[in-house]
């Protein structure tokens, strides 16, 4: 009964969603003439290269135009890790070692993971260093690095994550991001203003775009650290023994 009611309700919702999106034809050009700057999309497409020297417009938006959102988003991840820590916290008995309750992996997996890990990490770093030039960036790179750590965590039963190092990375990355923002304020500009370097460099150079790559690298480290932290917390839970 409840099932059919739900289906009925959802069909109505679906009908109205379709009705609403029916007026938004797929593939139509809603950005408008780029030179008009009538929409923000047009403005970004027109001005990103001349004004920020960043080739990847999405990166420019994420890190610079809407950098405030990204700061908030990084904070959400940070808070999720923190919240996870408090939700799943349990008092360790005195002298109890921190351990993940996983089955021991085979030697093959272990060696494979160890071999793979540096490459994964390198890939991640590459992705976020080139975030302003090619697709990808801090989130993607950070997530990739986190997968590398995941591999290690799963393969090695007692893989020690340097908690201190994790905290340091996490905090320093966060401080870098927020600090660059505040630097903009201190130098008389606005929060997160791209004015730390005298020039923005040439488009498509590795060193270009002012602080944008730096922020994205910070975001990358931060995301990697947070995601690894989440995985670590979740993997350290003791499963039920019933």
């Amino acid at each position: 009964m409840k099932k059919y009611l739900a289906i009925f309700l959802l069909l109505i919702v679906g009908f109205y969603l379709i009705q609403a999106f029916n007026l938004v034809p797929f593939g139509a050009n809603r950005v408008g003439n780029i030179d008009d700057e009538s929409t923000v999309g047009a403005y970004y497409l027109k001005n990103t290269v001349p004004k920020t020297s960043v080739a990847n417009v999405v990166t420019a938006i994420v890190v610079n135009y809407r950098g405030f959102d990204t700061l908030g988003e990084v904070t959400v991840l940070f808070l999720a890790t923190t919240g996870l820590g408090s939700i799943l916290f349990r008092k360790r008995k005195h002298g109890e070692e921190e351990e993940r309750v996983l089955k021991e992996s085979s030697q093959l997996v272990k060696i494979g993971s160890r071999l793979l890990f540096p490459f994964i990490a390198l890939l991640g770093i590459y992705v976020f260093i080139h975030g302003h030039l090619t697709p990808g960036g801090g989130f993607q790179g950070g997530a990739i690095i986190a997968t590398g750590f995941l591999l290690m965590l799963v393969a090695y039963k007692n893989y020690k994550l340097g908690h201190g190092a994790l905290t340091w990375i996490e905090s320093l990355a966060g401080i870098t991001f927020a600090g660059i923002g505040i630097w903009g304020l201190i130098t008389g500009g606005t929060f997160l203003e791209n004015n730390a370097f005298p020039g923005l460099g040439n488009v498509n150079d590795l060193i270009s775009g002012g602080v944008i790559p730096i922020i994205y690298i910070a975001v990358g480290f931060k995301v990697a650290a947070e995601l690894t932290g989440v995985l670590d917390i979740l993997l350290s839970i003791k499963p039920n023994k019933n």
Binding site: L9, I12, V13
Partner: protein, 626 residues
Amino acid sequence: MMNTYILILLILFGGAFAAYFLNKLAPILSGLTAFAATTIATILFYTQVKIGSQVQLTIGGINLEWGINAYSWLFSFIVLGLGTLASLYSIQYMQNKERQGYFYLNFLLSIGAMMGILLSHDFVSFFIFWEIMTWSSFLIVIYNGKDVKKIGIKYMIFSAIGAYAMLMSIVMIFAETKSFLISDFINLISTTGFSNHILMITLLLIGFGVKAAVMPLHVWAVGAYSNSPMSYTSVFSGALSKMGIYGFGIVMLAAMTYVSPTISENAGSGYSIISIEVIKIIFQWLGAITAIMGTLYALKQTDAKKLLAYSSIAQLGYIITGIAVGTKLAVMSALFLAVLHGIFKGTLFMAVGAIERQTGTTDMTKISGLIRKMPWTFIASLMSIIALAGIPPLAGFVPKWLLYEGLITSGHYFLVILLFFSSTAAFLYCYRFLFGLFLGQEEEETKNVKEAPASMVIPMMFLAGLTLVFGTYPGLLFKPIANAMEFVGMHDVTWNMTVLSNVWGDTVSLNLVSIAIFVIFISAALFLFKGMRGTRYVTTKDISTSGEIPTENENLTYQLDFFKPFERAVAPLYKRTMDKIYNAIGESLEAVFDFTRSIYTGNGQTYAIYVIVFVVILLIFKDSIF
């Protein structure tokens, strides 16, 4: 002038907090503080304040006006007089009781709030003080901690209903006049007619009616009166309920009498069926019914406190009827009774309080024969009871005479019959009160009872003396009453210092009456005291039963089932229907309310379905909703 008003309120409110904190040092200090505060306030008020002075204030963008006029001046007698005497009385009464700081805090707060009500010329400060008065009295009602739910919460519910009705009316008035001044409201009524504003007036009357314990809104009163400490009940019943009368008077008298005759009462309004006459008639009858019911219930009580509480309700009924009738004589009698009721009911509650303090109970079946133990209390009670019953020479006679005359001259014969019936019945409980407590045989338990301390007796005797004074020289009160009536628009009220007259030319010279009765009384007393020398005192245990041992079922005391035959006659009236109706309404409402919260099933998914249902409803009806 401004300073005086604020000073008076500051003394009372500040005294309240001082009393609260001084209690920590020594309980007696808070009592003394209360007495000092009320005394100073009274002296200040009567020496510094002149009728007609006003001050303007602005708080929160609202213009307030405080002032005193002849009408509120009249009511200030009860508030300040009774307040001062009751605080003096409290010092000893409250001795050794717990939480004195709490008591005096609220005691002074309510006195201050009542003064505030009298000072207010605008509805906002009126309402503020009204609410302060309400919650401070509520806090005293629950002071004992007995029956908080049944009595305290009931009182608060009714008060809240009344207060919010009043608040609703106030905002409606403001929407119409753009002013909070009471005078502007009266102007509005007088320029546009009464019946166009029937809703706001009804709401105001409900608000005042609750405090004045008018018939369907009276159910809180008995519990609240009898549950608070007696030293406060004297103020509660004597003065606080008069605030209801005060407001009632403003609406009924000022609004009615100012209506200019040129306005057609039925002009252009949807409410035209209900005219001013209908409201008047409704309240006349409500008042009369309140009087009868109050009296009948009073008869049945075995607890002196409850008896007095019901009697208070009955007396308030007289007052309401008098005001609602609205002729000069009726109004005069009502205002006279309002002041007088404060005096004698204050005394009686104090007397009961004294008995309670000395014997530990107020149950009339348990104590009797206190006349020898507590003679002063007896005398005060006797005088007040005589006043209450309306027998000359004490003051109670005056308003009764005036009221009957007012009713007869304005043609309300049936009301006269009703009220006459009720005041006759009132004799019964008056007698019972006196007899049950003071006369009759002495009980073993009350052997060691002593008279109350002087600080309790003095206020009682003072008030009892006032009934005699006003009974002999009613003109002392007629003067301010006439001024007050002048203020509310009833001009040319004639009065005489000592003579009551009626339209048929009969006159009663109260001087002569009282002198005559006084002489008779004194000689009778002398005779009794002389004659009593030779009598033998019997105790309740000293019974001769012709050899038969009485069973428990046999009624050996007068106090129990005293008026059984009479009760049987009026039994149908005793069913407490109002109370039952309210309880039923309250319970069923609560059950419905309780059912409502089962919406929150505790299942998160159900909440999610609510969200989707809400979305669907909004989406489907979006064109008609928005």
